[in-house]
Symmetry: C2
């Protein structure tokens, strides 16, 4: 096991950076005007340290994302219905998408930064693959529904960070209205396949 435990100061700095970045993304208007130098400065750390700890900008974003996402991941993998695995597919699909939507509403800047800055398409990101794989698998359980791979992509596309940002920020659609509209849309997509009886 070549797993070396990190030095104390390294761990402390890592946390400081994470906290600072989190705060910065929350405060600043657009994610693209929170620069790596800003984060380093806010964390009271040199740029070198920052890049050593996270590799690059995308790495920092990913770390932040995973921290924020952890509770949802838990709820999806082993939690109670409607998110957990015991839920019947027709109920779980809307629940999953609602969870994604809520996450993006609660972490707008972060999600935005993650999806746009990610040096290449967001579709190659490991976290996207996970959501897509899961959603696809659940959709596959819905009788009569075809093209579950494509459908999963299309449904997830309706929760893209920049779209959510546009709806919330420019069109001023309130949170609950958005959730309702998404739920309605998802229901429609599912309803087109025959109900099981």
């Amino acid at each position: 096991m070549p797993e070396r435990k990190p030095r104390k100061d390294a761990a402390r700095n890592r946390e400081a950076v994470l906290a600072a970045a989190d705060a910065l993304f929350a405060r600043r208007e657009s994610p693209e005007d929170v620069t790596m130098a800003d984060v380093a400065a806010a964390a009271g750390v040199g740029k070198g340290t920052l890049f050593r700890a996270f590799g690059d900008r995308a790495g920092l974003l990913r770390a932040l994302y995973e921290a924020r996402m952890e509770p949802i991941r838990q709820a999806v993998e082993a939690g109670p219905p409607p998110l957990g695995p015991a839920t019947p597919p027709r109920d779980r699909v809307p629940a999953l998408l609602d969870a994604v939507l809520c996450f993006k509403l609660d972490n707008r800047r972060l999600a935005l930064a993650l999806e746009e800055g990610g040096s290449g398409s967001p579709y190659r990101a490991e976290h996207y693959e996970r959501w897509h794989g899961l959603l696809r698998a659940v959709l596959e359980q819905v009788p009569g529904l075809t093209d579950s791979g494509f459908t999963a992509h299309a449904l997830l596309a309706a929760t893209r960070a920049d779209l959510v940002e546009h709806l919330a920020g420019d069109e001023h659609i309130p949170r609950e209205a958005m959730r309702a509209q998404l739920a309605n849309f998802v229901t429609g997509v599912l309803a087109s396949s025959p109900r099981e009886g």
Copy 2:
């Protein structure tokens, strides 16, 4: 009328740039490695000229986009069914989305560059607003369908350039399969509202 006609050399250069950029986007793997300097060089023109003619990168992309889009715009605004205005809503919605999809398949790099580099969300771009407005209006004609604004966004999201690129490039889904899957998806969304009759 303060509309001054442009000088001959200016017009010629503008065309040269457009052609060069078009060619470059077609050849290069990713749109982000076709740089403004590249375009200028390929067109045999100085950077100053390029920026004078188009303002900035987004301006160039927009110009390119509009040129490529023109025939489709015509077909949609005044052409025959299934794209033209005489088409019944239930048939026109899939036709419109199919047109968008095909456009993005035929102009992958360009569409990609336009959607991601666009200094801010693609949702504020004037061309998106046009497509969304049109689609929304057509959806509004479909009896029983609610939230046409949101639905229009969600359907368009299924044709986002980076998704199309992912499906075509990474998942190797052939053109016709993709068109069929999108059509199927759209049909599902529309079918959830009661058929008129």
